[in-house]
Amino acid sequence: MSPSAATDFRNRIEQLGDLPTLPHVVQKLASMIGRPNVSAEEIGSLIEKDQVLAAKVLRLANSPFYGFPSRIASVPHAVVVLGLNVVKGLTLCATAHDIMKDAGLGQLWRHSLGVAITAQLLGKQLEMKNVEEVFVAGLLHDIGKVILYVKWPDVGKKIRAANPSGDRPMMHVEHDLYEVSHAEVGGWLANAWHLPATLREPILFHHQPGAAQDAQLQTAVVHVADVLVKGMACGNPGDEWVPPLSRQAWDLVGLDTESLAGCISRASEEFLAIDDYL
């Protein structure tokens, strides 16, 4: 592959606004959220124009993972309770879920939900302010795979063919062939969608959390959650073995033997409910 492959990918990502699967609403939302004085009401009513999307956002917002005591009945309500970035993230998740499901990537969605649940558990343990945000970061961390393997099937096919036994990390194969990995592709996508650093960095750096600058804790949480979920074999993100763990991220998350055991047992209980959201 020529050295320009990475640049070519980047250009293709930046033009992803034309994606037929990225609903018009999501694109409009991305630009709207950038405005400083936009209201929850405005955002909510925009999402509600697309009823299918609104239903999916509400379904995720009302999932037992969030555990809100009362039902969130409208999108503006969800914006108020969950925050703008989370609702924007959920909108993207709903879109990503559709793409994964249509492409038969149910196992990738299962893995993503597993990481989201575990990241949220870790976030609660760390008493992070916005645990809903790390949930969404977990859901989106492998979004680059959706692009590489689904939107660009020719690329995905080559990567898979170069790793028939699945024994090498997909990331290394992606790098060898195209000089970029799904993490970088996801990061570019996050940029194109104007996602905040708290979502962009966990996506971009989930395999090298030490590189995060503005969202170190969120990135460390998603990195550790990814390792734990691969260890627990919840879903299959494409390569079914546990990736290397960053000591720095592990220390930031600060799990001791007892809290690790507690996290594993709570996560595995919550995984039982995942099928309802597949």
Binding site: G231, A233, W241, V242, L245, L260, I264, L272
Partner: protein, 111 residues
């Protein structure tokens, strides 16, 4: 009763809840013994999972020993790292605590 995803269904499992189609109409009744034809039909229905008889936790009918082998296999590239050993140990203990009893009842070896 336990929930089993479609790819882990095996002939001989017994349905613990009726299987319904997307319109909510029953397709196969509770108590039916699964065979290959039925499992193939479920896959066409695009169901995420079904409920079958058995102890929760005995995933796909695998024994504790089989699950442990799979667990260690997943860690095969990182087992030199002491931190990963900590995680592996915690996951192994979790497996034992959730599967130990069910396997003993079935008479399978406990380790």
């Amino acid at each position: 009763m336990k929930r089993v995803i479609l790819t882990e269904l095996l002939p001989g499992m017994v349905l613990a809840k009726p299987v319904t189609n997307s319109a909510g109409l029953p397709v196969v009744a509770e108590g039916a013994v699964l065979d290959d034809v039925m499992i193939a039909r479920f896959k066409k229905l695009d169901l995420p999972s079904v409920f079958v008889e058995g102890e929760a936790g005995s995933a796909g009918g695998k024994t504790l020993a089989e699950l442990e082998v799979e667990l260690e296999h997943r860690f095969r590239h990182v087992c030199q790292d002491p931190l990963q050993q900590t995680i592996l140990t915690a996951l192994r203990e979790h497996l034992h605590s959730t599967h130990g009893t069910a396997d003993l009842e079935k008479g399978a070896p406990a380790s």
